[in-house]
Each structure stands twice: as C-alpha cells, then as structure tokens.
Amino acid sequence: MAVHVAAMLALQKKGAVTFDYGNNIRAQAKKAGVENSFDIPGFVPEYIRPLFCEGRGPFRWVALSGDPEDIARTDRLALELFPENQTLARWMKLAKERIQFQGLPARICWLGYGERAEFGVAMNELVKRGEIKAPIVIGRDHLDTGSVASPNRETEGMLDGSDAIADWALLNALINTAAGASWVSVHNGGGVGIGYSQHAGMVVVADGSENSKHRLERVLTSDPGMGILRHADAGYSRAIEFAAERKIDIPMEPRARD
C-alpha cells in the first residue's frame, strides 16, 4: 500500500493528473509512513464539487410501464431540452448502447438546478399526453449536492470547515416534505458507515396530473436548490454567483472564501 501510493506520488510529480477515488487509500498510506499522501486530492473537491455548486448531481427516473420504449422517449426528451450539454449527449448515446436495464427500466444522468424541474414537468406532460405509457418515478442518489453531510466523502474539505454539519441534510428532507415529494427519507451512515454521514432521499412521481405537476415544480426546485444554498453558505463563489443569476433567495449575503 505504501509502495503503491509512493509510486502514485512519483507519477503525479511527473505530471500525471492524480486523484483519490474515495477508498481511503491516502489515510492508510499515511499510517504506513507516506507523510505526503494527502498531496493527492480527493475526487469530490477536485471534480464533483464544482458541479454541486450548480445544483448538479445524479438524477434518475424509472418507467413504471416496464417498457424500455418509455425510457427511450425520455432519453430523446433530455436531448431535445438540453442540446448544448455535450457530456449529457455523449452519455445518452452510449448508455443506450452499453447499459443493460436491471429490473424496471431506468435512466440516470446528471442535471442541475433549473434543468431538473424543467425536465420533470416535461416528463409529466408526456405521461399526460400518453406518449409515455405509465407514470415515471423521479429520484436521485444521496451522493448529491444538498442532501448529504459526509466528511470523508461528499463534504470533505469544505471551504468554511463545515464538513460535519448535518443540518443541511435534515433541512433538505424537511423542505422536500413541505414541497410535496411522493416519499422522503432521512438516513444515517450511508456509503461510509454508521456515524459517518447524515443524508436524505427524495422521490417524486410524474403521473400526468396537475397534482404531480405542482409537486414536481416545487420539489425539483427545492431539492437541488438546497445544494446551491449549502455551497453558497460555505463560501463557494460559483454557488454564490449561480444563486444571484437564478435569483435564489439567500437572506444573509454569503461571503466568498475562495
């Protein structure tokens, strides 16, 4: 292990873009005497957090019809609505070819604040018009922008040191409940073990009704919106700018720390 990480550090020095992928290898190597193992950055601060600052995170939906054609229709919808998103376009094309469905057909892609509500309401409209055969279930992972406190992963090294503050995850569950998600959950210990994380889940159903439309508009705004608030509060300037651009109301002006 120490040899492994020492070699990673040597390659990093020679110019390889090097990052830790959440398996705790840095801490183990440090214990084994590799003093500078934390010169290797973690993947969340390095790559994922900038996405979190725009409310971007793993968004998923499931076709209750059981018909893969319904997912194919939603794949097309995503490409119609977000034609400028090249990562999404590449993913959609290849996912269709390479990913086998397990259980009910489902799709995942990363969408941000604004996009999720737009997409959810548009799927509801497709269900209403009968272009999709049965309701669509919309949810997300808890590895997400505003619903998790996990100091060894998702909230590692927050700018203001708020890594272990669990209030944000609880507020996420509360606001999604008030906004009318179909089901909401509050958890301890996912991903990294009991006592190491607090996080919340949400799922909201698009059944083509007005009732669903109201829920989708509210929940798919408040849920990623929590991520903007959380990262703006911690001092991430991208989140502060994004909140200003999208007119997300933050009562006390956040202070950039980066």
Partner: protein, 265 residues
C-alpha cells in the same frame, strides 16, 4: 419465513393502490428486491453489504398492504424498514415518510447500532436501499463517467479522448471504471489482482481486454492509440508491483487514480 420469495414489481397501467404515488412507492420497494437488481434479496439486502429495503419479510408484507390501503390524503410512517403508523395529511403531501438507521449522536457507532439491530429495533438503510430508489449498477457507471468527464474538462481542454487513464481495482465500485473511461474516449488500463473480477467485466462488456503482463497491456494501449480507438484493458497484477515498474520505465499516464476496494487495501 421459509422458502425463497422472488419479488418482481408489477408493470403497466393497472394499479393495486389508490393513487400513483403509493403505487410507485410499492413498485419501487419491490423493484429494489428484484433478483435482477438486489445483491441478496433473500435477506432483503439491496446493495452495499447490508443495505436493506425493509426490516423483515413480515414488515415488507405489512408495508405493501398498508400502501394498498393508503388513501390519497394519508401519510405512512416507516421507521428503519418497519411501518409504524399513518396519519391524515393532505393530497399534495408525501405518501410515505421514512427514517433509517438514525441514532442520537453520542450513540451513533457500530457497537450500539449492531446491538440494536440484533434486537430487531433498526436496520441499515444505506442510501437508495432504504429509500426505495436503487436501480442497479447504472448509477455507479454514470457517477464514474461524470468524474472522468469533469477531469477531461478541467485538465485536457474538454475531453479525455486519446488520454491514458491508469487505475487500480476492478471490483464492486471500481468495475465501472473501464466502461466509464472508454465512454469518454480514453485509453484505459486497470490493474486488478483477481483475474475473476476482470473476467466478470469482460463478460458484461464493461472491459474490452485482459492482459497478463505490463508489456502486453502497454502494447494493446499503444496499438489503440495508433488506431485512434478507445480501449479498456484489465491487467492481472498488484498495484504495488505494477506502479513502481511504470515509474521505472518512464511511462507517465495522463490520469492516475485508484479504486482498489477498501477491504483489499
């Protein structure tokens, strides 16, 4: 509960619940336990070691029954996989509220959790297991795809096309890396000690080739580079041997990471 139970969610437009929100919760709970989705459905384990969808089969049956009876202005409460009550709320409120594995701060550790779990008082809900929205391994592939794509944007002016990605570990989480890398157009080399894990990824189409020596692996990568193709190669070996050899030869990957599973570290 004796005998195996095989759970599949119903498909289509006929529901057995009084509204689609309840019906969706019911089907997604069942889908989490579909043998095609779940890691160990007999034990109600969905993924991630012991992440469960319900406390017991008895609790599962009562959740299903409660969801079928639930009115469109009622909310069912589930405490760590066990249905514990329902209240009148309103027609735009959640139909189900769930709390999983929560403990008061001072007692939030495995000693106490395991004690309480043995007493049948709680369960481990992981993330999407106990919140009834797990959909299989697509999530891991997609998360890894996004991470590699972000690395391409940040360091290589937009994409990983033609870039050499070197990593370790093709087990559980790490097994998504080869596919996520080639989806980003990269040349991928993953070092894995257990050849069975590489074979598994070859079978599912997540990994293109297996190599038994570093020479063989680097040749495959070089050929793909010349042909302007992406490729993923699983190299049977130990990172602690292979990486120093890579350093010695003066080969420098564009991207370097590691997903050797924590228990194998």
């Amino acid at each position: 509960m004796s005998g195996k139970r095989i759970i599949h969610a119903p498909r289509g437009n006929d529901r057995s619940c009084k509204g689609w929100h309840q019906e969706a919760a019911m089907r997604m709970l069942m889908n989490n336990l579909d043998p095609d989705v779940a890691e160990d459905p007999d034990r109600l384990v969905v993924y991630g070691g012991t992440g469960r969808a319900a406390r017991s089969w008895e609790a599962f049956d009562v959740i299903i029954r409660s969801l079928r009876e639930l009115e469109n202005d009622e909310t069912l409460l589930v405490q760590s996989g066990k249905p514990v009550g329902k209240f009148r709320t309103h027609d735009e409120a959640p139909r189900v509220l769930i709390a999983n594995s929560n403990l008061v701060g001072h007692w939030s550790n495995y000693t106490e959790f395991n004690r309480l779990e043995r007493l049948g008082l709680t369960m481990y809900g992981q993330m999407t297991a106990g919140s009834w929205i797990y959909i299989g391994s697509q999530g891991i592939v997609q998360g890894t795809f996004e991470t590699f794509a972000a690395a391409g944007r940040k360091h290589f002016g937009g994409s990983l096309e033609g870039k050499f990605v070197l990593t370790g570990g093709l087990g559980g989480m790490g097994g998504a890396q080869p596919l996520a890398a080639t989806m980003n157009g990269a040349l991928f080399l993953g070092v894995e000690v257990d050849p069975a894990r590489i074979e598994k990824r070859l079978k599912s189409g997540y990994c293109d080739k297996i190599a038994w020596s570093l020479d063989e692996a680097l040749e495959l990568i070089e050929n793909a580079r010349k042909d302007r193709q992406s490729i993923s190669v699983g190299l049977v070996g130990n990172c602690a041997d292979v990486l120093p050899e890579v350093v010695k030869r003066g080969v420098v990957p564009d991207v370097l990471t590691d997903q050797t599973s924590a228990q194998s570290l």
